[in-house]
């Protein structure tokens, strides 16, 4: 069981490594955000697997915090900011390349 769970963890690690390509090449920022999101979810899965494999269930708390905060940078990205001088302009930070 121990080896099996680590085997699955390696498989998910490889899978999310592949999604790094999307972070690297994604033409828009939203693409990169999605790549990072997949990496975050994969990271949660890996943490779950290593917790079960080693019997160290305290690692689940790391997964809880990661699950809560994974989308943070994405939120910071999508917030519209009204600059003081330019009250009519709503600059969506997300769309820029």
């Amino acid at each position: 069981m121990h080896d099996l769970l680590f085997g699955f963890a390696i498989a998910i690690l490889a899978s999310i490594a592949a999604s790094l390509v999307r972070v690297f090449s994604g033409p828009t920022r939203s693409d990169r955000v999605m790549g990072a999101q997949l990496l975050g979810t994969g990271g949660v899965a890996i943490l779950l697997l290593t917790a079960a494999a080693g019997g160290n269930w305290a690692i689940l708390d790391v997964a809880v915090v990661l699950a809560l905060l994974a989308a943070f940078a994405s939120f910071a990205l999508f917030v519209s900011v009204a600059t003081p001088k330019n009250q009519s302009g709503d600059r969506d930070v997300a769309e820029g390349t």
């Binding site: 490594a17 790094l20 990271g43 290593t50 790391v62 915090v65 003081p84």
Partner: protein, 313 residues
């Protein structure tokens, strides 16, 4: 065998992501890679059995630092637009010099690490022998708050000083106003919905982390950082306005942690030693210190990410 394979793959990935973060052209891509790097390093910490550090790494690296960098990037972009300065590429000589310097420093580090003694000199056995006196069973918490409380006290003050440093960059006319840029009331109710649902949950998770810090990985810093992230989320979603920097209750919250810690430390003088926690009440004192620290850390970190005041009160 398979754990070794996993660790090897993780190491390769960490190095690859770090390299990608440095060489990629676009600023936001570098930030995305940096956040991923934080996540991978957190997994590495769990592999090294340092779950407390992993908790802190995830909260700060994957959460707050990402938001901080994105905010910084957008402000730099706005400033650059205003100035319309052309991009200057560094000279080849500078690049070569930087590479040599980094390579030399890296080689020196590797050499030094290889020279370290097989059995590390440490006080771990002494700490473990006296763990019962601290009232807590989590060794990390015992060391942070009790055995090496002096370091933690100074660190909490350092955080405060960092915030003061950020605030000191405020132009005079804006001082006393609310920190950060004015966020337009978001048209997107998705963010509003999320900003309303998640913070209460995060509050409970943060409180849970502080509470179990006495017997399992967790503690003041981890819980306080989750609280900071939740405050930040509510501000980003436009649901609450950050309070004026001149507000007394805000400043009270900021100094609560270090002040409480210092007060308990000074009270300890009358019982024997500065920052000495009396064994019978050590656990209560530790918990009180941790709650105070968490409140201050939450306020300080959230304000650090929000930034200095940019508009008048």
């Amino acid at each position: 065998m398979t754990p070794v394979l996993f660790d090897a793959g993780l190491c390769v990935l960490i190095l690859g992501v770090a390299l990608a973060s440095v060489i990629v052209r676009e600023a936001f891509a570098a930030i995305a890679f940096f956040i991923v790097y934080g996540l991978l390093v957190a997994i590495a910490w769990t592999r090294l059995d340092a779950v407390d550090v992993a908790l802190a790494e995830v909260a700060i690296g994957a959460g707050l630092t990402g938001a901080l960098f994105v905010g910084a990037m957008s402000r730099i972009a706005q400033a650059a637009e205003a100035q319309a300065a052309p991009r200057r590429h560094p000279e080849r000589l500078a690049v070569v010099g930087a590479l040599l310097l980094c390579g030399g420093a890296g080689a020196a580090l590797i050499f030094t690490v290889l020279q370290l003694p097989e059995v590390a000199v440490s006080l771990a056995s002494l700490a473990e022998a006296n763990l019962a006196l601290t009232g807590v069973t989590n060794k990390v918490t015992a060391v942070l708050i009790n055995f090496r409380g002096y370091d933690t006290l100074l660190e909490s003050v350092v955080l405060l000083v960092a915030l003061i440093g950020v605030w000191s960059a405020t132009p005079d006319r804006f001082w006393g106003g609310p920190p950060g840029l004015q966020l337009a009331m978001t048209q997107d109710s998705v963010l509003g919905f999320f900003g309303a649902i998640l913070p209460p949950v995060g509050f409970v998770v943060g409180a849970y982390l502080i509470w179990i810090g006495s017997s399992a990985p967790g503690g003041a810093f981890q819980g306080g950082t989750v609280w900071a992230a939740m405050l930040l989320l509510a501000v980003l979603a436009g649901l609450i306005d950050p309070p004026l920097v001149s507000k007394r209750s805000l400043r009270f919250g900021l100094v609560l942690g270090p002040a409480l810690f210092l007060a308990i430390g000074i009270a300890g003088i009358f019982r024997g030693s500065f920052l000495g926690l009396d064994p019978p009440i050590a656990k209560t004192l530790t918990l009180a210190i941790e709650v105070g620290l968490a409140v201050s850390i939450a306020a300080t970190l959230a304000l650090l990410v929000i930034g200095k005041p940019r508009r008048a009160a």
